[in-house]
Amino acid sequence: MALIIGIDVGGTHADGVLLDGEKILVKNKVQVDQDNLSDSIIALLKTLLPDSPADLARIHLSTTLCTNAIVNETFDKVGMFIQAGPGMNPNFLDCGEHVCFLNGAIDHRGHIIKSPDQSTIDDAAVTFKDKGIESIGVVTKFSHRNNSHEQDTHDRLADSFPHISMGHRISGLPNFPRRVYSTWLNAALKSRFMFFKEAMENGLQQLKINCPCYILKADGGTIPFTAASDTPCESVHSGPSASVMGCLALQKNIHDAVLLDIGGTTTDIAIFADGSPLLEPYGVTIKERPTLIRALNTKSIGLGGDSAVSYTDKDFSIGPQKEGPPLALGGNVPTPTDAMIVLKTLQIGDGAKAEQAMLQLIPDQTPEKTAVQLLQAFANRINQVVEQMIEEVFSRPVYTVAALLNLKRINPKEIILVGGPAKAIQQILADTLQLPCSVPEHYEVANAIGSGRTRPTLQATLYADTSDGTLSIPETGYRGTVRSYFDMSDAEARLTEVITTMAAEFGMEKIPEIDFLERQEMNTVRGFSSSGKIISLKAQIRPGLEQL
């Protein structure tokens, strides 16, 4: 038997399931103490364990650890080394007080224009050490094309600092400010994550569990706990991933769909195209910092069952804030939940108080009518945001004639609805979005199931310049030479090898299909003859469920 435990830690509760394939053997929920996450998780784990711990194949964990650190700004002090080269004035980059800007530059082709002064690095290292800094971030512009300035700086500092994060290892994508913020964040989360990892490992040892443990990422994939200690930033924002992957597990045959996770204060929206959840083009934005941390394209709006409602100028205003529980459940302000109670789609609370809530909003019409109008406004708002998301995906820039001529708008065929009020507003959402709307079974533990059933995701990017004879694969830190006849099929073969190796390190037994994206092959011409080729290619294992 290969059993899997899936755990999703939320703001107040942690949900867990013990899965045997698609079957839920045990499910449970505990209160979470955000300051002692590992204790809460271990306590929940104890209740989920199978009779024989040896049957347990893996533990999958979606945790709020890093998200909390970000919300509470409990970061490590980070010393940043940044080389910006020519371009925008880099002064806007805000990475705290300890920043050392390096001179020198690497250009858009990965050519070294000038190396940074080593004395600047040494002087800053002394200052950073004096300040008790242990975690370092090193980022250069175009390090995804040539990592040597990042690598050299790393090597120079390696003996002095225990933790050094380099930009090119976090992502092979372009976008220098995002690389800076991702690297800073990664460095800032380091000791907190290590502390958590140690506590978890001790706890697991006490429970005599020695199966591998995986952490859920923001991109609908997992990463082994051990690998995550190099890139703790990957564990942020995993909540939406758990929910999206849970829906994928619970609802069969999803193709093009809208996923709505409606909670008490927020609604999370995700979009599926061809059976896969859409990803952000670059990465997630965390507390206003744009990053290259790969993430699902989800949108969270301040609109939920318990959102505060007011009515002015013949218009409902719903959320974004929540002011206590619904009136029918002892609160003071009308909420959409009160409307659901009035319409009897939700059988909880005090019906009379719910009617009062509606009368409080519009005194001169029946509570039923107000309730219908309120939920209609609720559904309209969701519809509006869904359309906006689809438009944003449609408007993503393309760079070739063929791509522009082939642009197609996503056309969802169904809505999948999870979260507390799901069943109560299923009908009105179906009518408003004019799509069939289903609420999958076991949706109350969708996130824990999502966490448990998710497989690892991987990504690697390749950039080869045959006129220079160079090849870079930033995610692995590889930079080497390449022959003049290197072509796109060689690039595919090379990335397949890289992904296969990574997958084995990640404990994947079967390698899922590898997607090749953003294929670009360009002749370089100097004078009037061809001098070589620039080939770039991205390979990924897209978010998906572990095959049973």
Binding site: N89, D107, P174, N175, E288, S395, P397, V398, T400, V401
Partner: protein, 442 residues
């Protein structure tokens, strides 16, 4: 709004469309690779995340948008590929973003370029088939009721196509500053080319000597271009933003810089920029394009410098300065005299000109004769006959600002003119927004 990324004081739109799958020929300067490094630089800079900078995909222009401006022989359907419609559509998208107030300014970084394409089009000349700025201008006139437009062509080559299209339009002030036509393609753009009989002084050419640098461009901007714009009071300023004045450009001989381009655009303060030429694809375009975008957006450009930039390389000689000063004085004088020039020409009802247009990309000539039918009340209408490549066209163009009488006369002439041989007769009516073609039946 986040303080982690800069906020552009001027909301700016960017249509970045490098057309990585289109070229004139694989080793031609206008090839797939041309905007590769520019795109790489702009994306790596994180412009997509700068607050108030928005990216737009181009739209695909319709043949109707082309036919509003050009007389294509045999037809716009036969001459244009999708790439040309997208490039023109990119310029239109940039203009729409501004006119619809989605942004305050916009830059179409698109290819292929357009400023050598004249009103009649038989093929590709100077890497251009259709004039994307002109198509954009007539589009916004048609759809947004804009009248007065200024086009400042800062490409190193004379914007002969744009000049040709707006030559007789007093509502378009066309200023081109370029490397002297005695030393560079297309060999035109002298001061005496100053506009048709209805618009003398509304075409201003500033031929600059080879090796002109930042000082020379500053002088032209401060002494001529800015005062003329202040006087003309256009509703819209467009920069035909070629970037081949750069010191590293392989097919020109100027000495301009990214810093210079940024300063020029900060001063000019254009509503819309449209990329034209620029063939130093690695050493110049990534920096000049970035400099122009940041200047338009009102952001700091002080760090946008070529890796080998050294201010000492850009000092001009006293001789060169005085030569440029003379050019500036002549241009200013011309503009000041524009009303007198118009009076001198007032007696003539029909002003005839002729020229031979060389299409360099495939190599053939077109003979063109043009009659400006003048009018005391409006710019009149234009009659063109052109022949080349065994084709012949006889066309009448009614400009957007013509009076009813001229319009009726042009339509009468169209009706009574018979097509010759395989040729066609065209009526291009920008007032009614129609394009009619007559051909012999067989």
């Amino acid at each position: 709004m986040s303080h982690f990324m800069p906020t552009a004081p001027n909301p700016t739109g960017l249509v970045l469309f490098p057309a990585f799958d289109w070229c004139i020929s694989p080793t031609h300067p206008e090839r797939e690779e041309r905007l590769l490094y520019t795109k790489d630089q702009l994306i790596e800079e994180g412009l997509e995340d700068v607050e108030n900078i928005s990216f737009f995909n181009p739209e695909i222009a319709q043949h109707k948008d082309i036919d509003r401006v050009h007389i294509c022989v045999p037809s716009s359907q036969k001459l244009l590929t999708e790439s040309h419609l997208i490039s023109a559509g990119g310029a239109i998208r940039a203009a729409r973003a501004v006119m619809d107030k989605q942004v305050k300014k916009a830059f179409a970084v698109v290819r292929p370029p357009g400023h050598h394409a004249m009103q009649t089009v038989f093929g590709d000349r100077g890497f251009c088939i259709v004039n994307i700025e002109a198509i954009m201008v007539e589009y916004i006139r048609r759809h947004y009721g804009v009248r007065k437009v200024a086009i400042v062509d800062t490409d190193c080559h004379h914007g002969d196509g744009t000049q040709d299209i707006f030559y007789n339009d007093p509502d378009t002030l066309f200023i081109s500053l370029h490397q002297d036509g005695r030393t560079l393609y297309p060999g035109t753009g002298f001061i005496h080319e100053a506009g048709g009989p209805s618009a003398p002084g509304y075409t201003i050419n500033l031929p600059l000597p080879p090796a002109t640098s930042e000082e020379g461009f500053d002088m032209a901007m401060e002494r001529v271009i800015m005062p003329l714009l202040d006087d003309f009071q256009p509703e819209i300023i467009i920069n035909s933003a070629g970037q081949d004045n750069h010191y590293t450009d392989p097919i020109t001989n100027m000495n301009f810089t990214a810093q210079g381009y940024a300063r020029l655009n900060r001063l000019l303060n254009p509503d819309i920029c449209v990329l034209e030429g620029g063939y130093s694809i690695e050493g110049a375009l990534p920096y000049t394009n970035l400099g122009i975008i940041l200047a338009m957006a009102g952001l700091d450009t002080s760090n946008v410098k070529e890796p080998d930039y050294d201010p000492r390389n850009f000092i001009q000689s006293a001789d060169m300065n005085s030569h440029i000063a003379t050019v500036c004085d002549q241009a200013l004088e011309l503009y000041k005299q524009r009303d007198r020039l118009k009076k001198d020409l007032a007696g003539e009802k029909v002003v005839k000109t002729s020229k031979r247009i060389f299409y360099d990309t495939t190599g053939f000539d077109v003979e063109e004769e043009r009659s400006y039918h003048t009018c005391p009340h409006c710019p009149g209408f234009t009659e063109v006959t052109a022949s080349g490549l065994n084709n012949y066209v006889h066309a009448f163009t009614i400009p957007f600002n013509s009076c009813k009488k001229c319009r009726d006369r042009a339509k009468d002439l169209y009706r009574t003119t018979d097509p010759r041989g395989f040729g066609s007769v065209v009526l291009q009516d920008r007032v009614a927004d129609t394009y009619e073609v007559k051909k012999n039946k067989n």
